[in-house]
Amino acid sequence: MNHASPQLRTVTVEREFAHAPEKIWRALTQPHLIEAWLMKNDFVPALHHRFKLQGDWGAVDCEVLEIEPQRSLSYTWAALGLDSVVTWTLTPTAAGTHLRMEQSGFRPDQDQAFHGAQYGWNKFFGALEQVLA
């Protein structure tokens, strides 16, 4: 990976866990477990469910966009004046699970616009990173 060019648009955190996808899925989708590692919440694993994550510094407004049990979960994340989308991907490995979190900052007004915007931003930041490199 090339760490020299700044990733302006997307935050990605990945980690390998020695736990089965089923268990990690529970930690990502059960409110009392979510609270133990992320924030207080009223999460329900249902498409288009709107929920809030309550931090010490304020609330994050979220809506479930995609849900595929034990494989992927995606929700909007609106906080501090910026709309973004958080996507979790679970991939089974020999030792457990590879967990990937990607947060992309832009406004997904609708699905089609979401993909359009994603394409546009990718292209834009790709070009920009070449300039800044």
């Binding site: 955190v13 866990f17 477990l33 590692w37 910026l82 900052g105 832009f106 546009g120 070009a127 070449q130």
Partner: protein, 107 residues
């Protein structure tokens, strides 16, 4: 200058503005005329987009005779870099807590 990532994202969300800004990043200072020649939209439309980019602090204008030259202000992208760095730190620390929780769930 108090620029929020929100303003910068909103300003650059328009594909035409983004492509004008991208061109200024890539090719350096340009006149409105030169930008219009390749933009495929009218000069007033280009000027309007440049005005919005300027309000967001993303471009700077420099009048010279009858021409106005525009250049990209990469410093204005700072809030975006700050945002990604802050969120990266936030998630790394949340992953640590998730790891702790998963270990507790074993017991």
């Amino acid at each position: 200058m108090d620029q929020s990532p929100d303003l910068i994202f909103r300003t650059l969300a328009d594909p035409t503005r983004r492509s004008l800004f991208e061109r200024l990043c890539r090719e350096g200072e340009q006149t409105v005329g030169a930008l219009t020649a390749e933009a495929g939209i009218s000069q007033p439309a280009v000027s309007k987009h440049l005005g919005i980019l300027k309000e967001a602090g993303l471009v700077k204008d420099r009048p010279e005779g009858r021409q106005t030259h525009y250049s990209a202000q990469l410093k204005a992208l700072g809030p975006l870099v700050d945002w990604t760095q802050q969120m990266a730190r936030f998630w790394e620390s949340r992953f640590d807590d998730l790891d702790d929780l998963l270990k507790r769930m074993d017991q």
